[in-house]
């Protein structure tokens, strides 16, 4: 490999989240609470990508997430690639799937929704027949995944 291409160091053990749209990078960071982690994390921002033009990538050393944690990523960037690394080898590749129910992740856009006025968890369902749309369990307002804000 040419020296100029080696932008991000290899990982011994941990999780690689690749093909993150660059404008979604910091949402992914927040969603997985990476700022609270003590292990080393490499973040690549605006890297060149054959597939996407530009992409971002996160390498988290010594951390393996549950499927539930990883599926939250579908809310902000459904097309990420996940690689589980053990001993410098990719031992598993995963896709993320939008869960049918999202609890405590997405904020309801309706200011008059009870969830924005009471100390409680938000709760959304996916909507049958409408891809990329979530419906608030409480106020029934629908929100497009492209416009969601995280809690």
């Amino acid at each position: 490999m040419k020296r100029q291409e080696l932008l991000v160091a290899a990982l011994e053990n941990g999780t690689v989240i690749d093909h993150i749209p660059s404008n979604k990078l910091f949402e992914v960071v927040n969603l997985l609470h990476l700022e609270q982690m003590k292990t080393s994390i490499t973040v690549g921002y605006n890297l060149k990508s054959k597939k996407m033009g530009h992409k971002s990538i996160i390498k988290i050393a010594g951390k393996f997430f549950s499927d539930e944690e990883l599926n939250q990523l579908a809310v902000v960037s459904p097309n990420v690639t996940l690689c589980i690394i053990k001993d410098y080898e990719v031992v598993e590749k995963k896709e993320v799937f939008l869960p049918n129910e999202l609890k405590g992740i997405v904020k309801c856009a309706n200011p008059k929704c009870i969830t924005n006025n009471e100390p409680m968890k938000t709760y959304f369902h996916t909507v049958e027949g409408k891809d990329g749309v979530l419906r608030c369990h409480y106020c029934n307002k629908e929100v497009d995944l492209d416009h969601v804000k995280l809690v």
Binding site: K112, I114, E118, M120, C136, H137, Y138, C139
Partner: protein, 315 residues
Amino acid sequence: MENRSLVTIADHSKEKIMYLIRMAEEFEKHTNRKLLEGKVVATLFFEPSTRTRLSFETAANRLGARVIGFTDPKVTSSTKGETLKDTIMMVSNYADLIVMRHYLEGAARYASEVSPVPIINAGDGANQHPSQTMLDIYSIYKTQGTLDDLNIYMVGDLKYGRTVHSLLMAMRHFNPTFHFIAPEELKMPDVYKQYCDIHHIKYVEHTDFTADTIADADILYMTRVQKERFTDLMEYERVKDLYLLKLPMLKRAKDNMRILHPLPRVNEIEYAIDDDPHAYYFEQARNGLFARQALICDALGITLDDVTNDHTIID
């Protein structure tokens, strides 16, 4: 324990709706009973709504229940910062059933999840108002003798009108044809038109409101066009008088056609129409009493059999 709360009527099956109509019919035959003697019903109105509260309290009182509650949120602890959950938990120690009205959307759903006693939603913001829907459906059934295959015309504010949205969803089982008559700014939102498409409900949209447009109506459901709903006040001035129902507009109406209105009315139905046989809005409000008696009993686990074989009838 099964959650017997009533948050929305949109999820009710056709059978459940017909069951509640049968129950309301029983209460219309014999309104005064001691069926709920010994029960306490709480009415918590976090937002004032005099006619809904009076209707619920009358329904409970005429069945022998005692009623506690508040009518003005200013006197309650919610102004001191108490959460809804705390208020519900406190009141559920005292009452067998909580009827609640709240200005926040989803409040009743949340209350029904935390409350150990059943909740009846008496309106949560712009979201749901199932007892209004139940009395609307009961009124339609009473005046038409059926709920099936009716031409239902909805007029006025179809964008923010919570009652028209709930009615639309609850009628999906009965093969209605809807006609939506509204100004451009207040027309039926796409989400409800998609709902119609998904459930194969026929609908036609109109912006004009004349004797000809409503000639085929079985039900004319009027709502108020409110000034505060408009972003463009010029537009309001232009359309405000276009959606008023005047007596001459009824000259081609079918004999069975009835005019409904959730009330309060301001000027959208001319007062001269009150004496016309098509007018039904005051009887409609009266039907609310029987519909709410049915909803209260259903939430308390009292069945149609219990109501038909009731030996506590007073009158």
